[in-house]
């Protein structure tokens, strides 16, 4: 265990010349992004000033870097605010200037100096096929690196649907035998921040919430912070009044679509998707997919890639079923994989027909 003293956030703010009001502002914006009550901003500012500035290690495995791109585009808090004021980002192979053995040495030093108390952020799934050869760095497989880094971590943030649930690499037929973090690491607190990619402010907000309180947030059954993943997209969607009024767009260019009616019949997965897109939105609150005219793909849910067509209407029988069986799981249960596409197609069409039938009855 290291004896290196940790600098408090307040000390770092003084060094950087950040005023109290500026920090309250930063915390108010962050509290807003963290879906905390608005008055919490000032309370958080006071608490954070006395908190130690934690070491953060960011590891990227089998991924597309979309999650990291998202992370760097957080508006509240910004990644600059976080890095300069609140956290010490000790290893990140995308951002750091060092490379090769110097970078590997930085990782080893961060893990040794902060053993037992660093925050480990992981994005990407972990391929275990071919002895881990599908994803290696510094001569070590993703599996080996994750296990070693997890051992000294205080908490692990699995960022993105790949790290949380396996994501696209895990999708049928999973050629690299990829797994999510929770399938590899045992005995450590894991927070899943899913999404493909996750909302930037959900990543930074979850991190900030942990740094502020030193505790895990309330998590749902998929280990996701309830503050962000507690509501379905459908329940918070501004188009919900049109759903309730039975007004649906039937194609992407019809009158209903132009009037901003509900996209349910065009395959929107909002009813079974839990995320904060409808309230926090994207790109500094500019918009979110449904506001841009496209249905939700359900990217923050397990197996979203294997749940049939993005453009087939869901069956309301699938709603609010946390333990829902995905088409892929159904296939595994019946022991068939060859006819995957055909079965998925039939399932989606069936769901569409059921919805259509219900509409006719209404």
């Amino acid at each position: 265990m290291s004896t290196i003293p940790q600098v408090t956030v307040g000390e770092m703010l003084r060094r950087n010349g950040v005023s109290r009001r500026a920090f309250i502002k930063f915390c108010t914006a962050s509290a807003s992004a963290m879906a905390l009550p608005a008055w919490m901003g000032a309370a958080m500012a006071e608490q954070l000033r006395h908190a130690p500035r934690p070491s953060v290690v960011y590891l990227s495995f089998q991924e597309c870097t979309g999650c990291f791109e998202s992370f760097t585009r957080s508006f509240a808090p910004t990644i600059e605010n976080l890095m300069f004021d609140v956290i010490s980002l000790d290893y990140d192979d995308t951002l750091m200037a060092a490379s090769g053995s110097a970078a590997e040495a930085a990782l080893a030093a961060a893990m040794k100096d902060n053993h037992g108390r660093y925050v480990l952020i992981v994005d990407g799934s972990i391929p275990t096929g071919a002895g881990g050869a599908y994803c290696t760095a510094g001569g070590r497989s993703a599996d080996m690196t994750l296990r070693a880094a997890a051992e000294g971590a205080a908490v692990i943030l699995a960022v993105g649907t790949c790290a949380s649930f396996g994501g696209i690499p895990f999708a049928n037929p999973n050629p690299t035998n990829a797994w999510p973090v929770s399938a590899i690491v045992a005995g450590k607190p894991i927070i899943n921040v899913s999404g493909c990619p996750p909302i930037p402010e959900v990543i930074t907000g979850t991190l900030l919430q942990y740094v502020t309180t030193g505790k895990l947030p309330d998590l749902d059954e998929n280990l996701r912070p309830k503050a962000y993943f507690g509501n379905s997209i459908h329940d918070r969607c501004y188009r919900r009044p049109f759903y309730d009024a039975g007004k649906f767009a039937k194609s992407f260019d019809d009158e209903g679509a132009r009037n901003g009616w509900c996209l349910y019949e065009l395959g929107c997965k909002g009813p079974t998707t839990y995320n904060a897109c409808a309230t926090m939105k994207w790109n500094d609150g500019a918009s979110f997919p449904i506001e841009s005219g496209h249905g939700c793909l359900g990217c923050s849910e397990p197996d979203f890639w294997d749940k049939g067509s993005f453009y087939a209407a869901q069956s309301s029988a699938d709603w609010n079923s946390a333990g829902e069986t995905s088409p892929r799981e159904v296939l595994e249960l019946v022991g068939g994989t060859a006819a995957a596409g055909a079965v998925l197609g039939v399932g989606a069409a069936g769901a569409g027909r059921l919805r259509q039938h219900q509409s006719e009855k209404e």
């Binding site: 502002k25 108010t28 508006f75 918070r236 501004y238 409808a278 309230t279």
Partner: protein, 146 residues
Amino acid sequence: MSRLSEIPVRVEGLPQSVDPSMTPAGLGGGIAAILSELAVLLERLAASDETAMIDLRSLPMSAADRILLQRALGDGEVHATLQAQGTSTARETGVAGVWWIEHRDAHDALLAELLEVARFPQILASAPDEIQQAAAALQARNSAAA
């Protein structure tokens, strides 16, 4: 064009005035709910000096809803500007005790937008520890000058 806010947005279907009778099923239903909540919070402020905040970004509002809310609340007498790593504004609305707060960063991007129900916005007040430090510093300066 370098910022999202520079992309022109045209808000369609915006009613000319706020109609309190708008049903919850229509656009603007959420505005009636906010106005009702503000009325309760104002009563509480008047009775017990209890302050409150509503985070506008946490509510599912369309651009039209936002404009409707601004129109419904109107503009008051006080407009304070704060420079702290970017500009913040605290504008008293036409409803006394309801302040519209905007926090922007150094690049003028909107960080937070709140309605604060208070006699004056919390962020404007000087902090007790800073007042103490300032008093000590001023004393020292006066002594040195004397």
